[in-house]
């Protein structure tokens, strides 16, 4: 009896390994779709972050795109991710803060979405509270002042839809929809949002000339005795135009939104927000975490004369007692011209990114 049992176990274990016994097994595999990394990025910076458990595939990206534009993800089916992250605005919107489905406004400016896979530390949102693109995508759906829905409802809606179960099968080899797979697909789509074709990019590649005003603006941006912007927003050596690190750039003396401090609980982090990329500023107004500045002129004036001192103001902000770096009228105009050369109109019209 005992022996028989052992043999049985043996047979089971052997047969479990053999493929021929399970004809049901799906042999289908989604088609890999490696990110197309721009030359400038592969020349200058290290590879993007793609989690092992969520490789990019043709079917995953297509599904993610459909989900990103789908209002089914919101409680009353009036709002999609794209409502606050519109391709025409470099995947942000143009109000200082955003109105959710119930007409309530949040406290933060929506963020443009591009080159997210190169955020090496993987801290997302203004205060860094989201630790991956996948996890970030869970949040807006249930946020009461954003899409105000419930993942169980969303999954039920998607599962009973005529198309989604098949699209999930194609992307993930299962038609059983979960919120994890939903956010994986959205994240795959978000990783494809790459912007690397501004006039400045082409200038760096030797394919375009810049005006002397733009070049002087770059000098203002880089010079220690002028703008000194590069320690946080980068140099031509790093095409991301951000350090993706948290700083207090001197907006307020008394901070109301703690920013990173609210996440870490460390008061030394109060008022620190993630440096935004300076790409695509032409399309992403208004500016700062609360959208307080409507124009780039206002932003430049702020850095020039409007800094507010506080205990956590970044040590790289200079001449704080006099309000900032005190640029001349000419330098301000040149700086603005340079900043605008970092905008990439082809990113707005890329057919892969449209609904």
């Amino acid at each position: 009896m005992k022996k028989g049992f052992i043999y049985l176990l043996l047979i089971i274990s052997v047969s479990a390994c053999s493929k021929s016994d399970s004809p049901e097994t799906e042999t289908y595999e989604p088609t890999p779709l490696p990110l197309s990394i721009p030359q400038l990025f592969s020349d200058r910076i290290i590879s993007p972050v793609i989690p092992n458990n969520n490789p990019q595939t043709v079917e995953g990206v297509a599904l993610g795109k459909k989900l990103f534009f789908d209002t089914k993800l919101s409680g009353d089916e009036t709002m999609a991710c794209a409502s606050c992250h519109s391709p025409q605005s470099a995947f942000t919107n143009n109000t200082p803060t955003s109105e959710g489905i119930d007409g309530v406004f949040g406290t933060r400016n929506s963020m443009p979405l591009f080159n997210l896979a190169w955020n090496y530390r993987e801290r997302f949102t203004w205060d860094g509270k989201q630790l991956s693109i996948e996890r970030q995508a869970l949040e807006p759906v249930e946020n009461p002042i954003e899409m105000h829905s419930d993942w169980t409802d969303v999954i039920n809606k998607l599962q009973s839809d005529s198309e989604y179960p098949e699209l999930f099968r194609l992307a993930f080899k299962t038609s059983l929809i979960t919120k994890e797979l939903t956010t994986k697909a959205i994240a795959q789509f978000e990783r494809t949002l790459i912007s690397a074709n501004s006039r400045f990019d082409r200038y760096t590649l030797g394919q375009e000339t810049l005006t002397s005003q733009e070049l002087n603006g770059l000098d203002v941006f880089l010079r220690e005795d002028k703008g000194d912007c590069f320690h946080c927003h980068g140099t031509p050596s790093n095409p991301l135009w951000t350090d993706n690190i948290f700083h207090n750039n001197g907006l307020d003396t008394n901070v109301t939104d703690l920013g990173l401090g609210g996440v870490t609980g460390d008061s030394n982090d109060n008022g620190k927000f993630k440096s935004p990329s300076l790409r695509n500023l032409a399309y992403t107004a208004p500016y700062m975490h609360d959208g307080r500045f409507e124009t780039l002129d206002q932003v430049i004036e702020f850095y020039s004369t409007g800094l507010q001192n506080s205990t956590t103001i970044d040590v790289l902000m200079k001449n704080i007692d006099n309000g900032g770096v005190q640029l001349s009228t000419q330098d301000k105009a040149d700086l603005k011209a340079f900043l605008l050369s970092l905008s990439d109109p082809s990113f707005l019209t890329n057919p892969d990114f449209q609904e």
Partner: protein, 263 residues
């Protein structure tokens, strides 16, 4: 039957797992793995990111200061032997005290056992290695120096970023950014640059086994020996300040020392 299997399994496991150990013992060790542990102190006090952000250090000039950020680059670890060519490891490591990363560095290359007249490394990059855009991982860390006239029209990389706050002569809390790079005088004609990286000598050592060097940085030394640094005059915009860079180089000579060695 069962027992037989169990026995077979055990003995196979035992034999295969013992195999390598036996070999190891038979072959004489000829090379050592080396590890460099970077530790930081303000005179007698240990400094880690946990001690950042509060004004608690007093420099030779009498200014109280805090540290909020500290990262620096080391490169070209070199082992020198009597009568033989130096072993130069063409590596670099960005020590990031703020984020407690790369505080320990183990070069891939193993080093032959034996007597060495000196073990040394370069603080920063010497001119040969300090090449614009040569290191995508350092660009990704925003470690580069912009290629503009003010910094010598040459690009390259920072050596160190030491930042914090201090109490100035007017008794106000203010900020400093002690950034060290290759010295450049962008206003001179022609523009001059000077390699201000520092060769740090850890001294003679006999390597008999895998070895770990503790490399200590006394941060207080950046402000003294032999130049008494006054933060009231030199606190920011120092990258393009040729004289300030030379003084950093002067004070940097005594910043590093060898701590404990274990092997």
């Amino acid at each position: 039957m069962k027992r037989f299997f169990a026995l077979l399994l055990c003995s196979t496991l035992a034999f295969t797992s013992c195999g390598e150990d036996l070999d190891d013992n038979l072959v004489l060790k000829t090379e050592a793995e080396t590890t460099f542990n970077f530790t930081h102190n303000w005179d007698e006090t240990e400094v880690t990111s946990a001690s950042f952000d509060s004004i608690q250090y007093l420099n030779q000039n009498g200014d109280s200061l805090s540290i909020e950020k500290l990262r620096y680059l080391i490169s070209d670890i070199t082992f020198s032997r009597e009568g033989e060519e130096d072993i130069v490891l063409d590596i670099y490591n960005l020590v990031d005290v703020t984020n407690s990363t790369n505080l320990s560095f183990s070069p891939e290359t193993k080093i032959p056992l034996g007597q060495y007249t000196n073990v040394s490394f370069t603080y920063g990059f010497d001119d040969e290695d300090n090449i614009e855009n040569a290191y995508p991982d350092l660009n990704s860390e925003n470690w580069e120096v912009p290629n503009i006239q003010m910094f010598g029209n040459i690009g390259g990389y920072h050596y160190m970023q030491l930042e914090g706050r201090f109490i100035n002569n007017a008794d106000e809390e203010t900020t400093y950014a002690y950034h060290n790079i290759r010295a450049a005088d962008g206003m001179a004609t022609p523009i001059t640059t000077q390699d201000t990286s520092i060769q740090v000598n850890l001294g003679a050592i006999t390597i008999t086994n895998d070895i770990t060097f503790q490399v200590k940085m006394n941060i207080a030394e950046w402000f003294q020996n032999t130049y008494q640094w006054d933060l009231n005059t030199w606190n920011s915009s120092l990258m393009g300040n040729f004289d300030a860079q030379l003084r950093m180089n002067e004070n940097g000579q005594n910043v590093f020392s060898l701590g404990t060695v274990t092997q």
